[in-house]
Symmetry: C2
Subunit: 370 residues, 2 copies
């Protein structure tokens, strides 16, 4: 499949072979392509420029607020079940980007979801939460212009869940989440509360809100938009907007990074040795032999190493383009590419962990953890 699909598609450093799946999202679910909005964004973020953010719902609304310097919000969060990794990094950076563009920023520690979905006790998730918030602060989130909270401690999101519950049928829940325990459904309603809380009077009332998420989170958004409409009379909610980024392939060649599969990803708390090893052993878009690769070139479209450079670690677009062509032409081999990436990643991790350490006390204070 790899060769033929690489052959069929036009050369595009920011395209991916799985793009057909994304096309289906446009058609079936009404997600809009992001690309056409790009020219209107004055300082597009890296993942916007490179097509990592490929789709949206009603992002026009947020864009207008940005242009006119009107109030708007950005909202996302993390399930405190472990340490920061590349997936949470992506979302956190998107939140910080919008905060820097003027958004009131909301970052939720989804500890109720961690409990209901993963059976992580509130005592245990508190420890992860402190680390996660320290990570967020280290990446540049400004707590003075944002609100970081735990679901279990914010009465507003729980109360919104109770209010929303009256207009949610069992059939809706089952359609979105399957046959699950009651707690999981409650946490889904609290999540709708998370997304709409930025529009409560406590936070300066209704406003466009963007929720940057991985495309797998779209069902939550559909549920929440539905609830925003159903409770419009009471709260004057503006339907929340969303942007969708692509999901990263697993380092081991699996279709998606996953906690169930430790070789598919790494966290920023792993040892440098471990991280280097996972990258070294990663699946790539390379050929069986160096000779073949020199002759035929690699397939960056299916390569998690290339993806990591493009999604996260190459600051300049031109460097991504260069890598793409060097790979395609056989100029660079996988080993070489991996060594370069390892150096960049380990530098980033080292620097990030230093900043993170400086922010642990602040994180404790924000979460009111003793």
């Amino acid at each position: 499949m790899t060769d033929s699909s690489a052959g069929k598609t036009a050369l595009d450093p920011f395209g991916m072979t799985v793009v057909e799946d994304y096309e289906r999202l446009y058609e079936e679910f009404g997600i809009q392509p992001f690309k056409s909005l790009l020219p209107q964004i004055s300082k597009p973020y890296l993942s916007m420029r490179r097509g990592v953010i490929f789709g949206h719902r009603d992002f026009d609304r947020v864009l207008n607020a940005m242009k006119k310097r009107e109030k708007f919000a950005v909202m996302s969060g993390i399930k405190p079940t472990g340490e920061f990794h590349l997936g949470t990094l992506m979302t956190a950076r998107e939140v910080i980007y919008f905060q820097q563009q003027g958004a009131a920023a909301f970052y939720c520690i989804a500890d109720v979801e961690a409990y209901e979905d993963n059976n992580i006790s509130f005592e245990r998730s508190e420890k992860y939460a402190v680390g996660n918030v320290a990570d967020l602060l280290a990446l540049g989130f400004d707590p003075k212009r944002g609100y970081i909270y735990r679901q279990s401690k914010d009465q507003r999101v729980k109360d919104l869940a109770i209010i929303f519950g009256r207009k949610v049928t069992l059939a809706t829940m089952k359609a979105i989440y399957g046959e699950r325990n009651m707690g999981l459904y409650i946490s889904a309603l609290i999540q709708a509360g998370d997304i709409l809380m930025p529009q409560l009077e406590d936070f300066n009332g209704p406003k466009p809100t963007v929720v940057p998420v991985g495309v797998d989170q779209d069902p939550h958004l559909r549920l929440t938009r539905d609830l925003a409409a159903k409770f419009h009379r009471k709260y004057s909610f503006v339907l929340p907007s969303s942007t969708y980024h692509k999901l990263m392939k697993g380092l081991d060649g699996s279709p998606k990074m996953s906690k169930r599969n430790p070789m598919s990803y790494f966290t920023f708390q792993e040892t440098p040795k471990n991280i280097a090893k996972k990258i070294s052993n990663a699946f790539t878009g390379g050929r069986p032999t160096a000779q073949e690769q020199r002759k035929l070139g690699g397939t960056p479209e299916i390569c998690p190493i290339y993806e990591m450079c493009m999604f996260h670690f190459f600051e300049e677009d031109k460097d991504v383009v260069q890598l793409y062509h060097d790979c395609k032409s056989g100029k660079i081999l996988c080993g070489e590419d991996k060594q370069r990436l390892i150096k960049i990643v380990l530098n980033f991790v080292k620097e990030h962990r230093r900043k993170r350490q400086q922010n642990v006390d602040k994180a404790r204070k924000i979460l009111q953890v003793a």
Copy 2:
């Protein structure tokens, strides 16, 4: 049916013709007969002595605590969807009885349930709640030795609902409550929180707790006892006990007093004229003509007027016994009986409303209503 069933059963002023239905509860659901415990209760309440409270679950546990003067609790509540009536009076008086026997008393204003089940907004239920609490205080509830709260305002019951949700399947909810909206299920879990909150550390830890309810509420108790067992390791919950009172027949001859049927019941805020009229027009166990009644006697077992005297308004057991025999023997006619009851009820209502008025400010303060 009326005559034959009256003929089949032995003369028993405190029995009812529907007793076969209650027998079924013993067999099918494991509800225990209350009667056998009666000799052990030093000051049994009126409804215990007269068999109105006919069944229980694990009441022995509460009885032991009462005997040994160990800590125990009583818990019940009201859905703030209207004014006090004979059903809410029954439960309130039972709660007050146990409080007077030394229980820590909990009275819940189920405003989340009123919202989810009856679509009563929190603004609207607040008004009813103030009246309901004033009623409770007028009846003798001592707020210094008890806790009165609204579900929507107490974080503990909401947090218990979230914690319990993880171990409740959809199938369980559907089996108990049928196919309902998510909110109704959430309110059911909050109700489990209401029943178990008296055992939290905030309230002096685990203890026997009695929940006096109408027998129609047993499914909630079963759910809650199941949750108490499932979360025993975390909270050391003692399985909650319950007592079950019979449900009153409708004044209009319908099997049960119901808000859907305004002629079947009255509230204490109705005009004396209205109350008198509803009693006057009530269905009875009388004969078609006075002559027949004198000759054959009435059927108190099916008579809501007799029931009202026995369940609520005759202080002395001997007066109930007297009425039973006077009716059976044809000595008293229905009109006469109704006039006597009207006098007692209107006296009670007048006196109660006076006391209630004196307690409205206190009720506002307890509920923190401006």
